[in-house]
C-alpha cells in the first residue's frame, strides 16, 4: 500500500502511469479537477492556489494513509497545483487503486470532501481582463 503526494507549480500534466502492478487491483480511478470558466456566476480566466507547506502535504499524506487503511486500497496518489491554473486546465488529480470499485469510489468521494474541508489550500478566482475600448 502506498500514498504519494505531489504539489506542482501551475497546471497538472497528463496522468502518471498506474502505480502498482496491474495484478494487484481490479479498480483504478483517476479523478481530475478542472478549472471552470464560471465561478459563482462570473467568468474567470484562472484560479490561483495558495498552499501552506509543509502542512498541506503532510495532511494530504495522512489523509491518503487513512483512506488506504479505511477502504483497503492498494495505492492512492494525490497531485495538486500551486499558483495560477488557467480555465480548462487540471488543478487536482486523485488516483486510486483498489481491489474492487466500491471501495475505490467511496475513497475518492471521502478524500475530496475532507480535503476541501481541512487541508490548508485556498483558491482565488482571477477575473477576465477587461476588454480594451
Amino acid at each position: 500500500m502506498s500514498a504519494t503526494v505531489r504539489i506542482i507549480d501551475g497546471a497538472l500534466g497528463n496522468p502518471a502511469p498506474a502505480l502498482p502492478p496491474a495484478a494487484q487491483f481490479g479498480a483504478a480511478i483517476v479523478f481530475d479537477g478542472v478549472v471552470r470558466a464560471d465561478e459563482g456566476g462570473r467568468t474567470i480566466r484562472a484560479l490561483a492556489y495558495e498552499v501552506y507547506e509543509p502542512m498541506a502535504s503532510n495532511m494530504l499524506t495522512e489523509l491518503g494513509r487513512e483512506m488506504l487503511a479505511k477502504h483497503g486500497l492498494v495505492a492512492i496518489m494525490v497531485e495538486h497545483s500551486r499558483g495560477e491554473v488557467p480555465v480548462g486546465q487540471r488543478s487536482f488529480r486523485l488516483t486510486v487503486h483498489a481491489l474492487h470499485r466500491a471501495e475505490a469510489l467511496a475513497a475518492v468521494g471521502e478524500f475530496i470532501d475532507r480535503m476541501k474541508r481541512d487541508v490548508p489550500i485556498w483558491k482565488t478566482a482571477l477575473d477576465e481582463a477587461p476588454m480594451a475600448s
Binding site: 501552506y52 502542512m55 495538486h80 487536482f92 476541501k116 490548508p120 489550500i121 485556498w122 483558491k123 482565488t124
Partner: protein, 81 residues
C-alpha cells in the same frame, strides 16, 4: 509574547494583509490567540473566536500552550481541488 498569525485566501484579501500581530501573555494558550484576534477585529470577533489555528503546521487544542517562536496560521475558508 508577540506572534504574527499567518492568514490566507479571501480573509487575507479582505483585510489587505498576510498576517495579524497579536500580543499575548507568556504561557498563553491557543485560545488566548483566538481571543486576541477577535479583539483586533471586533467586526469579525465570532469568526476569529471559532477559527482553527495551526501551530508549527499541526492543529492544536484550544488549551495547548504556546512558546516563543511558534509559527501560527489560521486555517479556515479552505477549498482545494
Amino acid at each position: 509574547m508577540v506572534f504574527r498569525v499567518l492568514i490566507f485566501g479571501s480573509l487575507a484579501r479582505e483585510l489587505s494583509c498576510v498576517s495579524i500581530a497579536v500580543d499575548v501573555p507568556d504561557n498563553a494558550s491557543v485560545r488566548d490567540v483566538n481571543e486576541a484576534l477577535a479583539a483586533c477585529h471586533p467586526h469579525k470577533a465570532t469568526f476569529f473566536r471559532g477559527a482553527r489555528l495551526a501551530v508549527n503546521h499541526s492543529f492544536r487544542s484550544a488549551d495547548a500552550l504556546l512558546r516563543a517562536g511558534d509559527e501560527i496560521a489560521l486555517v479556515e475558508l479552505v477549498g482545494g481541488g
